[in-house]
Symmetry: none
Amino acid sequence: MGDNVANLADYIEQHLRRLLDLAEGGAIEIQRRDLADKFNCVPSQINYVISTRFTAERGFVVESRRGEGGYIRIFRTHLDTSTHPFGFVNSVVGDSVSDQEMGDVLFRLKDLGIIDRRDELLIKGIVRQQSEDLRGRSASLVRARILRAVLATLLSVRRECEEDM
Amino acid sequence: MGDNVANLADYIEQHLRRLLDLAEGGAIEIQRRDLADKFNCVPSQINYVISTRFTAERGFVVESRRGEGGYIRIFRTHLDTSTHPFGFVNSVVGDSVSDQEMGDVLFRLKDLGIIDRRDELLIKGIVRQQSEDLRGRSASLVRARILRAVLATLLSVRRECEEDM
DNA sequence: CCGGTGAAGGTCAGAATAAGTCAAAGGATC
DNA sequence: GATCCTTTGACTTATTCTGACCTTCACCGG
């Protein structure tokens, strides 16, 4: 225990985090090849670091492009999901959701103070609108997907709005 | 925006956008040969830039003519943003959406200042996450639904936030 | 007229560049 | 020694850039 000697992946993570701290706007751009050279490893190691450490759950979004002028960009999101119920949302929603279950989930979230009454109505409206022409199982699958997506959006946007004040 | 541009195609795109911004009536006319000379590249590079960056999805129409007195004209198309969020979103999204189309739609909305860079990435991430294990048509349908739902949420919440101030 | 000619722009496929994927091997931890 | 995390490299995919070849058009000489 104590100070475990960090491995390569940890060093690369540290490096990227330092860059992010220094960067204006909480975003950085790197070349995969260059970074791999700097750390004397194969390029795919960079992908490993990014996919294990710079995830949405940890508050990052990553964007990349191949070919000439290619890059990897890492953005810090406003959303820190360890303090915000992202995982929680995923755990309550499930893969298949009936209209009734949707109501229950939203009720719980409102009860917990995560969303308010207006959000509840808004979400219910959107989910219903987007699943209205579907029946049975496919409706439930779509509802689940949309519910998760909408909740994720709402939570991150809310947070942004709060910060803006 | 500090968009760092790393390749020729991006430079040419930027140049054309600047011209469009300056132009009265949101339209410009260029000579392919001249532009290629200016950027020291083959003429077909211009076609590449136009066909990848100035698409209908991104809000442009392009018209050209060969032969003596030939030209390429680029027009910016307009989008009515004053309508209700739902109607607006529906007019942009459609029933079936490829990943590429989603990218273009979000790009255009960002271009119009309706969403910002982070929204763009966030939404792309959410939609991809929710459609990642699907293939072909069903993926496109789900993408369309989720994209509509997420955009509608975002726009409604945004409005609320503004009202609250 | 009318067919030729040169001046545009268009198409397509291949090379070059850079990132992504995946599975298997290697280590650490319990 | 079982399991989980890391590291590697062979293979895949995406994007850009180029050049050879094609099409369209105005104009000109006969």
